[in-house]
């Protein structure tokens, strides 16, 4: 099995590269993403219950519908909104897990111990 040492530096490079790819995908989606109704919308149209959908309560918010305020070009706006969402997802998950692991720490901060089951 090929092994590559994962130092914190390579981890950092992987993360930056990965986030770069994701942001590139977001900008690509501005250009290539299909604007046709998605699976659920299509079913709603075919079955005639589109009118049941209410307008989203936050549809006036700045990033609603993956658009950016003050950006003339719609495709670029989608890319920028996507990049914000990508960085926000990354930061939210990382931050949340860090906080959770700090909170869980006292239960596990003592040195590992052998349990009776493990000695069998």
């Amino acid at each position: 099995m090929k092994k590559r040492k994962l130092t914190s530096r390579t981890v950092r490079h992987c993360l930056l590269g990965g986030l770069g790819i994701c942001i590139a995908l977001a900008f690509l989606s501005g250009f290539f993403s299909s604007s046709a109704p998605d699976g659920l919308e299509r079913v709603a149209i075919d079955e005639g219950f589109t009118q049941a959908a209410h307008e989203h309560a936050l549809s006036k918010s700045p990033l609603s519908g993956y658009s950016s305020p003050g950006i003339e070009d719609e495709k670029t706006g989608t890319g920028i909104a996507g990049a914000i969402g990508i960085l926000a997802s990354f930061a939210a998950v990382w931050g949340l897990l860090r906080v959770l692991s700090w909170r869980a720490r006292p239960a596990r901060s003592h040195p590992p111990r052998l349990t009776p089951e493990s000695q069998k």
């Binding site: 981890v11 046709a36 049941a52 307008e55 997802s89 990354f90 901060s109 052998l114």
Partner: protein, 284 residues
Amino acid sequence: MHIPDGFLGVPMSLGMGLIAAGAVSFALRQAALEQPLPSPEDSFEDSFQDSSGNVSALSSPGFSSLAREELSIEAGAPVAGLLAAFVFAAQMLNFPVAAGTSGHLIGAALTAVLIGPSLGIVCMTIVVVLQAFVFADGGLTAVGANLINLAVIPVLASTVLFRLLRRVTGRSPYGVSLAAAITATVSVLLAATAFFIEFSLGGSVSLDTASFAQSLFGIHLLIGLGEGAATAAIIGTIAKTRPDLLGDSLSQDCFLEDSNRTAPPRQMSLEAGLFRGEKSKGRR
């Protein structure tokens, strides 16, 4: 893919909200217990000593040798974050599936395979909540149902299904890709099934069941095949280049095993950090 406000009635929205809240908080708790601890006192030697004294732990093949040499602290949480970022990006890309219809990936099967069920649910939850509350994609009242359909059900189902399938398909890159493809396709169909049940029981409109089912599952089968192809491509690439990331002891069925709160911190490799939950079996 995201249910807007108004499709589901109030009782169903509330009920799904409650179930989702319960499921997500359970996943958060599990994820917290699985997190590798980047604290100085959890030194490398500690975990090594423990395992050398613990003979039964070493009996699981390929388990102990891997992580010894690769010391990468704190990798679990950033990798989960990166996956969430990828899921967010992937859900923006709508690909055409039929005339006048598009679909986007869910990504639940990918996260389940790569980081396990609890971290997977956490990732998907963050993405779905961000989409609903910042990007107005998916209704605010429907956020519970969307979490059930896009985060909880497909991640849990993918975890179980992938492990079962991998026993059949084997561990070659092609076998793993095939298992991932089937898993991802089924996960989309299960998400559609969940919506079908929610809408049939608590939708704001009552429909002819047969034609509703035909329309819903027909389209989502196509979307599922897209999801299967994309997931298989990604998992297949990882299986070829970094098979260690897919976890050597994944075939041990430890999914339902309780995570042990007093379990000591263990290896700090990327792989061990990601698959801690599954690996706890041999070491209890």
